[in-house]
């Protein structure tokens, strides 16, 4: 809102429909010229040619003229600028006929004039010494302000150690700058502003504008010795002021409260409000405003003599800061929401999916069971689960024709999957019951679990790619047992599938799991069983339905190739786990894990060697591995602070308080509950949350983006997830003040986010 550096004459705003416009004033032009002059004078000093800059700097009169007012920065310093000497500056506003500007309490509408002074060090400005206003009726309303010409004086205080900047002319002056804004009104109102500057000589008298200041200072209210009293009585204020001079007693006074929005400003004396003299005390009964927003305990008030009663040289107004007693009318209680509305709102909140786990009904339980089942089914597609499934189905191709074998394999795998889900679910419920804040996927919050999984996946990958065969590693007897009991093998691979699937909270599963937490143990375990059944179903179906088995291609050399290919998703999973560990334990932890994986791989390979070499090499490798573990193994479990800033300034760290704070500011808040080990989260982050259109919508609606990182154990995040009816990540929530939070689906689409934002 700075004036544009234009040298064109000031072009004020005019007319009712003129837009508010910053004025480019003569004053600011003058200021620029004097700035230029200062530069020139520096040059002058250097060249020692001509000493004075006064000739270059025109005398600034600091005037801004609009079609409604002529405003001028004036000063009054009869004894110069010195400590203790009276120094005043002021804005003189000469209004066009019918136009007015406002007092400190503007009344029913309008705004007080604002003055912002910039002064040299050592000089400070006081408050505006407002001259007494007039009451200006505008239709059925009233304002307090000034017509004609008014000076708004500001006293300046000169510090004892004030040293004026030396000047080449030998007569120092001080530079005073003023930024003023005022609202000038007739019936319509025009906001105007101007920049002013003035040079005030430090020595010598500045009394050119004495008359203006004299009038303004004569129009100052005189403080009364006693504060008087104000009592709230019903819808009126009973005002009593003592100590007014004898010459005033019996006269009708004007009443101006400095506190806005308390009295009925437009009340007409004699009709709506009354005043009387009780001996030397002035009393008045003044109606309160219908829409009173203030209930002050002290009210500064000003009473004034009518213009016809004013005597030159005598005070015209008096001011008191009256304490307020009595009780403000209680007709304006805080607005409460009606009970009917309250229940409707509660019903709305309950309609949010799974947000109200306590209202579990048979219908919603079956829905949750179904959700868990679908979720389990979709888990099969997770990148870490899919290879396991593919290899299992591969086994069918090898044993083509053995229908009975297929069935028992299917059942065993299913049992393995479901039992391990029940075990995990049971463990989670037990932790919960013991007061631990645990959520689904909690096991991956432990760096040790992540490291062990990375090792396991490395071994599976090496096995698939053919570095070693299990037969070589494990004793022959166990191998034989496996051949004798392929069922046990299937059972174990079921467990494996769950272990590797658990970090991935698949779609539909999140709500069901959250729901499960709040259910009685038996029902909760049924949900986990449903989840397991969903995960196992494809394999079970392949075992029981011969058509599925028949669809499988004939066994052949391709199977070996597929095995090798499937090793790579496993290695990819290892890469991902190393990254997860990096989030938890930093670069040193990830490096240590990689080192250990190398040792592990070498060990696995060494066991494929024969005879003495095998003993020697593997023995050496065991020693090396042990040394590596001792040296850097500790880094794996050493946690580091999350690199929050790295996620960019767009996303701020989440906290419940921050959400409330932003909502209070009226900003919608989008929260991304995420964890490094959650694949779905990473996918959504890259695909949807980085989508240009989504980001643009976030921007357009001023949505605050918060990220809650659950990579490591964080009870506050777990509690927030529970409150949302979830127990794992990802969860995406849009919080809008006054509305139930919108919880989105786990596989987030740009359309869904945009639709939710469009509904804001």
């Amino acid at each position: 809102m700075n004036p544009s550096p234009s040298l064109l004459p000031a072009r004020p705003t005019s007319g009712v429909r003129g837009l508010s416009r910053t004025l480019s004033s003569d004053a600011s032009k003058a200021a620029r010229i004097s700035a230029t002059a200062a530069l020139v004078s520096v040059a002058a000093l250097l060249s020692l040619s001509f000493p004075a800059h006064a000739q270059l700097s025109p005398k600034t009169s600091a005037v801004v003229t609009t079609s409604h007012v002529r405003a001028e920065l004036i000063a009054y310093a009869p004894d110069g600028v010195a400590p203790g000497a009276p120094v005043w500056v002021g804005l003189q506003i000469a209004h066009q006929p019918e136009w007015h500007t406002y007092w400190k309490n503007a009344g029913d509408s309008g705004l007080p004039t604002e003055l912002a002074l910039t002064l040299p060090p050592g000089i400070t400005a006081g408050d505006i010494a407002w001259p007494v206003p007039e009451k200006i009726a505008v239709g059925t309303l009233a304002n307090y302000g000034y017509e004609g010409t008014v000076v708004l004086p500001v006293p300046l205080t000169v510090a004892p150690d004030f040293k004026p900047a030396t000047s080449l002319t030998g007569s120092p002056d001080i530079d005073i700058r003023l930024k003023a804004s005022w609202l000038v009104c007739r019936q319509e109102c025009i906001p105007e502003q101007g920049d002013f500057s003035l040079k005030l000589p430090v020595q010598g008298s500045t009394a050119l504008d004495k008359a203006g200041f004299d009038a303004a200072l004569a129009a100052q209210p005189v403080s009364l010795a006693r504060p008087g009293t104000i009592e709230v009585q019903g819808k009126t204020l009973k005002v009593r002021l003592d100590g007014l001079p004898a010459a005033v007693q019996g006269k009708t006074l004007g009443f101006f409260p400095e506190t806005g929005d308390v009295i009925h400003t437009a009340a007409i004396p004699g009709k709506d409000w009354t005043q009387a003299w009780d001996g030397a005390a002035w009393t008045a009964t003044i109606p309160l405003a219908d829409q009173r927003s203030a209930r002050p305990t002290v009210m500064p008030v000003v009473v004034t003599l009518a213009v016809s009663d004013r005597q030159p040289g005598q005070p015209i107004a008096w001011r008191a800061e009256a304490p307020v007693s009595g009780i403000w009318p209680t007709s304006a209680p805080r607005a409460e929401v009606s009970p009917a509305l309250q229940s409707a709102l509660a019903a709305n909140a309950a309609a949010v999916p799974a947000a109200a786990p306590n209202s579990a009904t048979a219908g919603s339980f079956i829905a949750a069971l179904f959700g868990a089942f679908i979720g389990g089914l979709l888990l099969n597609l997770m990148p870490c689960v899919f290879p396991v499934l593919a290899i299992k189905v591969l086994g069918f191709a090898r044993q083509a024709g053995d229908k009975r074998g297929h069935r028992s394999a299917g059942v065993a795998y299913t049992a393995g999957v479901m039992l391990s889900f029940l075990a995990l679910g049971g463990a989670m419920l037990m932790f919960r019951a013991a007061g631990e804040q645990m959520g689904w996927g909690f096991q991956l919050q432990s760096p040790v679990v992540v490291a062990v999984l990375a090792g396991l996946f490395t071994m599976i990958g090496l096995n698939l790619v053919g570095v070693f065969q299990f037969g070589i590693l494990v004793p022959h007897s166990l191998c034989a047992a496996q051949v004798k009991h392929p069922v046990a093998n299937d059972f174990l691979s079921g467990i494996l599938a769950v272990v590797i699937a658990s970090p991935c909270t698949a779609p539909f599963m999140g709500a069901s799991l959250g729901f499960a937490i709040a259910l009685p143990a038996a029902q909760a375990l049924m949900l986990f069983a449903a989840l397991g059944f969903g995960l196992a179903l494809p394999y079970l179906a392949a075992g029981f339905i011969p058509a599925v088995a028949r669809l499988l291609p004939k066994p052949g050399a391709w199977m070996e190739t597929l095995r090798h290919v499937m090793a790579f998703p496993m290695f990819a999973t290892v890469a991902w786990l190393v990254w997860v560990l990096g989030q938890q334990s930093g670069i040193d932890g990830a490096g240590a894990l990689l080192g250990l994986l190398v040792c592990l791989s070498a060990l696995a390979w060494s066991f494929t060697l024969r005879g003495r070499t095998r003993m020697l090499v593997s023995g050496l490798l065991v020693v090396c591995s042990a040394a590596v573990v001792v040296a850097i193994g500790g880094n794996i479990v050493r946690t580091v602070e999350p690199a929050v800033a790295a996620s960019g300034a767009r996303w701020q760290p989440w906290s419940a308080a921050r959400v409330a704070e932003l909502n209070a500011e009226g900003r919608p808040v989008f929260v991304d509950f995420t964890a490094a080990w959650c694949v779905t989260c990473q996918y959504n982050k890259k695909a949807t949350l980085n989508n240009a259109a989504v980001l643009a919508d976030f921007e357009a609606r001023n949505v605050a983006l918060l990220r809650a990182d659950w990579t490591r154990q964080d009870p506050t995040i777990t509690a927030a997830l529970t409150a949302l009816g979830r127990s794992g990540v990802p969860v995406y929530v849009l919080h809008v003040a006054g509305k139930a939070p919108v919880v989105m689906t786990e596989i987030l689409s740009a359309e869904e986010v945009r639709a939710a934002l469009a509904a804001l």
Binding site: S109, L141, A340
Partner: protein, 200 residues
């Protein structure tokens, strides 16, 4: 159309200019004709929150909130929650900034405004009944017909569009609190702006 507008606002509940309801009291019912000639009755909106917004395109404070998009955004945010938003022009016909219904309608449209209706109150009856002193002035009526908010659009009394960013939007705050089941913390605030151009 002109005839319909001339009908103006008719009061069902007699109120005098000096008896505007305080927050917590029953909001006066009214019938008014909008800029398109449609008639609206406040009590027909029972069961919904109704925001009454006094407007006048000639007022720099109104222009601050429409020009910055703040008013349109506030209107959209409210109506998307099922709130009825009635913009009301209580500007008298003789006023220099009076706009005819069609002109007012197109001005609102130009500024992307999204009120449920723009009501003509040229005789000032509705404005006086609600004690609207300035443009903009906001009154909020709750689903039971009670006045729950009266005052300013936001917390910074100025005509500077820059202040919209930092001000607290009282309408969003009040509606947010009401929908969140909380009492409205700032139920009466000091309205600022130009005087409503009432018929003398």
């Amino acid at each position: 159309m002109a005839a319909a507008v001339a009908l103006g606002a008719t009061f069902l509940v007699g109120t005098t200019a000096f008896a505007a309801p305080s927050v917590g009291q029953q909001a006066p019912d009214f019938i008014a004709v909008d800029t398109r000639g449609q008639q609206h009755k406040l009590s027909d909106f029972a069961g919904k929150f109704v925001v009454l917004e006094w407007t006048n395109p000639g007022c720099p404070f109104v222009r601050k909130h429409y020009g910055s998009g703040n008013m349109a955004a506030t209107q959209k945010s409210a109506t998307s929650k099922g709130v009825v938003w009635l913009s009301i022009s209580s500007t008298e016909r003789a006023a220099s900034d009076y706009l005819k219904p069609a002109a007012l309608d197109s001005w609102m449209k130009e500024h992307g405004a999204a009120p449920s209706a723009v009501l003509m109150d040229e005789d000032g009856a509705i404005g006086q009944a609600y004690g609207a002193r300035t443009t903009p002035h906001i009154s909020i009526v709750d689903p039971t017909g009670m006045l729950v908010y009266a005052g300013a659009i936001d917390s910074i009394a100025s005509s500077r569009p820059d202040d919209v960013e930092t001000a607290t939007n009282y309408v969003n705050q009040a509606l947010g609190e009401a929908f969140g089941g909380k009492p409205i913390s700032a139920a009466t605030t000091r309205a600022y702006g130009n005087s409503v151009r009432y018929k003398a």
